[in-house]
């Protein structure tokens, strides 16, 4: 069975339960072998972007909505964790409660964005979502008393489990790996359920989807909420990982980057999003010695993929 078939089925058909378990164990063993902080940092960022690319693929690949403002939801999750852990709950459980609150808050904002934009499709939605991301950033920049403005928030504590702080790169690797696995399992489940079918049906033909009894407004709102919640959790991790937050981390370029990851990997394919996140996060790291050519390489890669695999590396 080639990779295309695996992707078509939307699950790791290639991997029987045993190989699946072995792959997961190997992934968990990585920090025991690799101690180099630079490598671990790179891999952790790959995982962070995998979460975001998979969340965005729920929107772009399934629902067919091009959200250019996903970073807004990441920022909501990150700042909720930053603000609450620094100022309100410095206790060990503060991070986890804040992570949850940030996710719920982002989900509500996502539903509101979904409800207010349900009539807007295509290019118009791109612009509105881009605007949404920028609005969030401007709020972060200007609500100085809450967010620290351009100075941001410093001293965000690392996630802790009782007195054990997940402070080293290796421990944070385990944390983000668990997040990635949870997100992958849940998105694959959604894809292969009535939710995924309803989203794809809306993408394929709105009129026929409504004629099949699908309430489009409702399913668009659910989709937006799911992507927002996942993005906010990634944002919460980001806050605890960097211990420092600044609106600069949430510029619209980040959203565009994630859009590129989904397109490169192949919209509509969860494993494509994983691959796109991996490639585009690692390229700048790999070509670091040639830093001034990094954008050129990035552009060239996108260019070549669009010519030879217009639907993405793992797209159909």
């Amino acid at each position: 069975m080639d990779t295309a078939t695996v992707v078509k089925r939307g699950k790791l058909a290639l991997l029987n339960p045993y190989t699946k378990i072995i792959v997961v164990i190997l992934l968990f063993a990585v920090p025991l072998v690799i101690h180099n902080a630079f490598y671990l940092d790179a891999v952790n960022m790959v995982f962070y972007f995998i979460i975001l690319a998979v969340a965005l693929d729920l929107q772009m690949g399934f629902l067919g909505v091009y959200n250019f403002g996903i970073v807004g939801f990441v920022a909501i999750g990150a700042y909720t964790v930053g603000i609450l852990t620094v100022g309100v709950w410095p206790q060990w459980w503060g991070f986890w409660v804040a992570l949850l609150i940030g996710a719920v808050f982002a989900g509500i904002v996502g539903v509101l964005l979904g409800l207010s934009t349900f009539r807007i499709r295509g290019d118009y939605f791109c612009i509105v979502s881009l605007g949404f991301g920028e609005i969030i950033r401007y709020v972060l920049l200007n609500w100085v008393s809450l967010t620290g403005g351009p100075m941001g928030i410093t001293g965000v504590p690392a996630p802790r489990i009782f007195s054990l702080a997940l402070a080293s790169r290796g421990q944070l690797y385990w944390f983000v790996l668990i997040l990635v696995l949870i997100v992958l399992v849940l998105t694959v489940r959604m894809k292969n359920s009535y939710l995924g079918r309803a989203w794809v049906a809306i993408r394929e033909d709105e009129v026929a989807a409504e004629a099949s009894g699908i309430n489009m407004v409702q399913y668009q709102a659910i989709n937006m909420a799911m992507a927002a919640v996942i993005a906010a959790v990634a944002g919460g991790f980001f806050a605890g990982y960097l211990n420092y937050l600044n609106p600069e981390s949430f510029v619209s370029n980040v959203s565009l980057n994630i859009v590129c990851m989904v397109i490169l990997g192949g919209a509509g394919s969860i494993w494509g999003a994983v691959m796109g996140a991996g490639i585009l996060t690692l390229i700048p790291e790999i070509v670091r010695p040639l830093a001034q050519y990094s954008s050129l390489l990035y552009g060239l890669l996108m260019f070549l993929v669009m010519i030879f695999r217009p639907k993405g590396v793992l797209g159909k």
Binding site: L195, E204, S212
Partner: protein, 267 residues
């Protein structure tokens, strides 16, 4: 007049339905009633307003004035997905399948309103999720069996031949478990053999699912052979209604189709 109650012989009825697009009157004060468990044909020249009437019934258009009642419920202002939930399903003039989805998934989407699970069942893969999916897949396979599409169940819808796409669209509509099925030009683009097979197929599903069928069609042989009653629209107005034999001899109908001169010459 009879408004089509549950005990009434009519499943669907319209009262002075008017649909205006700006200055264009697509439907003018159309009254109609569709008999329960019957097959009714809707014919008329191009631009007569047939598809507009379908769109009013299914909620794609909201009639400018007038009333449409289905099983005693006024449906004139409901959105399409709610009308589907009440038991009206349709196919489209230019086939509207979910092209990049498999044949099976197309039918599963049609079963959307019978889903008996929630989001948490999906996320936690509960027993209810597995049972419901299993249940739906079995039912979908039955529908594909009846439609002669079972061997193509994993194909993408866009790869099916034309006739099979038409049947898949009907199968998807049947998946919503409708009481009333609207078919918009089901034989369009079909050859004679395919048309004959479609007649058998429509009889089969009508008996099996206790359906009422309302269809738009240009193929007169097909309409006359299949329908018990025919309604004729021309320029947005109903000009005739009756059994096929009567319609064939109706002067207003001949005139609408062939023009005034021809009608006189034939008489």
């Amino acid at each position: 007049m009879n408004r089509g109650g549950n005990d009434s012989p009519y499943i669907l009825s319209g009262h002075k339905v008017t649909m205006q697009f700006g200055g264009l009157v697509a439907l003018r004060q159309v009254d109609f009633a569709v008999a329960r468990y019957g097959i009714m044909g809707l014919i008329g020249p191009n631009g007569a307003g047939k598809t507009t009437l379908f769109n009013c019934i299914t909620g794609n258009h909201r009639p400018t004035s007038g009333e449409i009642r289905f099983q005693e419920i006024g449906i004139g202002s409901l959105p399409p997905y709610r009308i589907t939930r009440l038991g009206i399903a349709r196919t489209f003039q230019n086939i509207r399948l979910f092209k990049e989805m498999s044949v099976l998934d197309n039918v599963l989407v049609g079963m959307h309103i019978q889903i008996k699970q929630g989001i948490s069942d999906v996320l936690f893969k509960t027993k209810r999720f597995s049972e419901d999916e299993q249940n739906k897949a079995e039912k979908a396979d039955q529908l594909l069996e009846i439609s002669g599409l079972i061997d193509a169940r994993s194909e993408l819808a866009k790869n099916l031949p034309y006739g099979a796409q038409r049947r898949l669209e009907i199968a998807r509509a049947l998946a919503t478990e409708p009481a009333l099925l609207l078919l918009d030009e089901p034989t369009a683009g079909m050859n004679l053999n395919e048309t004959d097979a479609l007649i058998d197929f429509i009889h089969l599903i009508k008996d099996r699912f206790n359906l009422t069928i309302l269809l738009i069609e240009h193929d007169m042989k097909f309409v006359m052979g299949l329908c018990e009653k025919i309604m004729v629209l021309d320029h947005g107005q109903k000009i005739a209604e009756g059994p096929p034999g009567e319609i064939q001899d109706n002067e207003a109908v001949i005139e609408a189709y062939l023009g005034r001169g021809m009608a006189r010459a034939e008489a």
